[in-house]
């Protein structure tokens, strides 16, 4: 049976209905929503960023790389110049857990003996199975200065005995590639910061001036950016790097290379800063602030900076790997950092031709570090970009 009510609408029932409605709202989700609405921009970015798995992996791996590079004296068993005679061109040492008899035991290595194959005149390394050398953790080794300050001979890993532990093999002078790669990561990873910092200063300054003043200043700076962006990067780097005097020391060359990378790299950042500044200037909230009588500096600090800080951070994250690649390329060509300085690019220089690669393929390992570092920065940058974009769902 259908019961039918007459539908009558009058103001009285409406008012009471309103109260009922107010009371009947599903309030269980309110605190959660409240949290969203009152969160600061930083919190929002962090929440979105946390969802980006690849970016989290990126940040973890990068943290590890930077940590290890800072404590290279501790993690690398040897110094960068320590040479092992009779171990020139030696392949990576195999760490073993099984003895010849097939029993398991704590990690150990064998020494190598070098012979020359009479037919091909090639060096051949064979395991000398007579003595087992224990692989030890937290052992003592060559004296070094951790973080340039603390003298210490503590090593993360080492061998009990007088044979070398060559995790990545040795180069043609018998130096440990593993230790050299770890030490090299310091210059390679930090040149990214140096170069990007300089581009950042140049880029924000010139981009800011361009966007702020407009007119002739803008035109001039824009043409400069056009020019820089239309010159192929690597040839320009090469030509600039060629101007660095050969007799300069490591530190001087380092700063010169940083400068070279930054001189070419600021243009992209300046363009972004300018574009963003111009767009933000037109935003209603900036107009609102101006109408309320806020001072110029206050508007820049309160409204403009927070808005494009996120863009800058993203751009910087993506610019660091470009700088790392730049240093690697230049040093690889012999135009960047010079030995005895060690960087990934300098190390890769030893793998410049087919003979070297055929003889010592392990010399390509520093290249893997380059790829990993760049890849992780890209993941991180992508994650930051997605997180920083407030208009994305």
């Amino acid at each position: 049976m259908a019961t039918v009510k007459e539908s009558k609408i009058d103001e009285g029932t409406l008012a009471s209905a309103d109260e009922k409605l107010l009371a009947g709202v599903d309030e269980s989700r309110e605190p959660e929503l409240e949290k969203w609405f009152t969160a600061s921009q930083g919190q929002l970015i962090w929440w979105r960023f946390k969802k980006h798995k690849m970016a989290l992996i990126g940040i973890a791996v990068l943290a590890l790389l930077y940590f290890v590079s800072m404590f290279a004296e501790f993690f690398g068993p040897y110094g960068t110049t320590q040479r092992f005679a009779a171990y020139e061109n030696a392949p990576p040492t195999r760490i073993r857990f099984r003895t010849e008899e097939g029993r398991f035991r704590s990690p150990f290595i064998y020494g190598l003996t070098r012979t020359v194959d009479r037919a091909t005149f090639r060096q051949v390394f064979t395991d000398d199975t007579s003595v087992m050398y224990d692989v030890k953790f937290f052992t003592r080794g060559e004296q070094g200065k951790i973080l340039w300050l603390i003298p210490s001979n503590l090593k993360f890993i080492g061998v009990d005995g007088d044979v070398p532990l060559l995790i990545f093999g040795a180069d043609r002078l018998g130096r440990d590639l593993f230790s050299r790669t770890l030490h090299g990561s310091r210059l390679s990873l930090f040149i990214g910061f140096g170069g990007v910092f300089l581009s950042f200063v140049l880029g924000t300054l010139l981009g800011g001036l361009s966007g702020y003043f407009g007119g002739v200043v803008d035109d001039v700076i824009q043409r400069m950016i056009d020019v820089l962006l239309s010159i192929p990067t690597i040839p320009l780097w090469m030509a600039l790097a060629a101007a660095i005097p050969r007799h300069w020391g490591v530190t001087q060359t380092y700063f010169a290379i940083t400068l070279v990378l930054a001189v070419v790299g600021w243009a992209g950042l300046a363009r972004i800063v300018r574009g963003k500044l111009l767009a933000l200037r037109e935003e209603d909230f900036v107009l609102a602030a101006r109408i309320f009588g806020s001072r110029q500096l206050y508007i820049i600090r309160r409204h403009l900076l927070p808005n494009f800080m996120s863009y800058l951070i993203v751009h910087i994250t993506l610019a660091i790997p470009a700088t790392i690649l730049g240093e690697t390329s230049l040093s690889f060509l012999g135009l960047g950092l010079q030995p005895p300085a060690v960087s990934w690019g300098v190390l890769l220089r030893d793998a410049q031709n087919i003979t070297a690669i055929a003889q010592r393929p392990w010399q390509l390992i520093p290249g893997a570090f380059v790829v990993i570092a760049v890849l992780m920065f890209s993941f991180l940058g992508d994650g930051l970009r997605d997180a920083a974009d407030p208009y994305k769902s």
Binding site: R223, M224, D226, V227, L228, L229, S230, I231, P232, T233, I234, P235, L236, M238, A239, L240, A241, A242, A243, P245, P321, L325, T328, S329, F332, L333, G334, L335, L348, A351, Q352, N353, I354, I357, A358, P361, L364, G367, V370, V371, I372, V374, L375, S378, F379
Partner: protein, 331 residues
């Protein structure tokens, strides 16, 4: 359209002037002038130059004049006589050194560009239309690696893999028997056989970059209302994809020439050194190592010039393809 072409062309001229100034500054950068360096290096190797010869050289390069005048002498030579100067290292004119290398550079660069398009366009279309499929994931990952790996490193790895599996060293653009031979049909064939390695290696990074841009653009376009309109008209799915979203998403193919081309040329310089190609790359490296600045500067200038022309062509293509741009620029 004609007005647009003319206006766009007029922008190029100040750009080229600025580029030439920057390159000239770069040429002037090494401490001391190159002539002094050159003379001292000649002296060191036992060659004696008499005063008259030195004075002749100084006058020829206007070294006794101001820097501004030197710039105009240099630029004037290029513009009026097509004379790029003298390479001290090669003991030949820069024009002579580059005569055979430049066309080869251009050929490899263009071939890489076409390789980039040939690979990136279909992959991006499949990736975007089948978002989150296995294909999409695989190529997104490969794309990341392609962007993270500097071309010269890729060249080294390929070199090593091919060498360790087949024992063949894939270097150079020609097989040994054709290297010094005059041009013939057989030589062209030989070039084709050898050239794909550098072309692929140089193109990988650009391909990865373009896939990323195209895929994102196409994903955006696929969500647009006009796609639904076309579907509601009764158009078949493939037909409408190609006529509407893909057609519009192809714009980046042309708008990105501006950065893909310099990227390809940059990458090519180092790859050419690793693979020992007869292009400007190795010449540039030797020139910079020897501080043979006229040659180095000329190479940078020419490469930048080519890039500017490439960007110009890409802008024209874009305006021709997209009526919106034509319209915007008209007003």
């Amino acid at each position: 359209m004609l007005a647009y072409i003319v206006r766009r062309f007029l922008i190029i001229i100040p750009l080229l002037v600025l580029i030439s100034i920057i390159v000239f500054i770069v040429i002037q950068l090494p401490p001391g002038d190159y002539l002094t360096t050159y003379i001292s290096s000649l002296r060191a190797s036992g060659v004696e130059l008499d005063e008259r010869e030195i004075e002749g050289l100084i006058r020829q390069y206007g070294l006794d004049r101001s820097v501004t005048e030197q710039y105009f002498i240099w630029v004037g030579g290029i513009v009026l006589r097509g004379n790029f100067g003298w390479s001290f290292q090669w003991q030949r004119s820069v024009n002579d050194v580059l005569a055979s290398r430049l066309p080869m550079t251009l050929a490899v660069g263009l071939a890489s560009l076409f390789f980039v398009w040939l690979m990136a366009i279909p992959i991006a279309i499949i990736s975007a239309t089948r978002q989150y499929s296995l294909f999409d994931y695989v190529f997104t990952f490969i794309g990341f690696i392609g962007l993270a790996m500097p071309p010269f490193l890729l060249a080294l790895v390929v070199l090593w893999i091919v060498y360790s599996t087949t024992g063949v060293a894939i270097t150079g653009l020609f097989s040994r028997e054709f290297a010094e031979a005059p041009w013939s049909f057989a030589k062209v064939l030989d070039l084709m056989r050898n050239a794909w390695v550098p072309v692929v290696i140089i193109g990988i990074a650009g391909t990865a970059g373009l896939i990323r841009v195209l895929r994102a653009t196409l994903l955006d376009e696929l969500r647009k209302q006009y796609v639904v309109t076309a579907r509601a008209k009764g158009l078949a799915e493939n037909k409408l994809l190609f006529k509407y979203p893909i057609r519009i998403a192809m714009n980046p193919v042309f708008s990105t020439i501006g950065w893909i081309l310099p990227g390809l040329i940059s990458g090519q310089v180092i790859v050419a050194i690793v693979l020992n190609l007869q292009t400007v790359g190795p010449a540039l490296m030797r020139a910079t190592l020897a501080q043979d600045m006229y040659l180095a500067g000329s190479i940078v200038l020419i490469l930048a010039f080519l890039t500017v022309i490439g960007t110009f062509i890409s802008d024209l293509l874009l305006a021709w393809l997209d009526p919106r741009i034509r319209y915007e620029r008209k007003n």
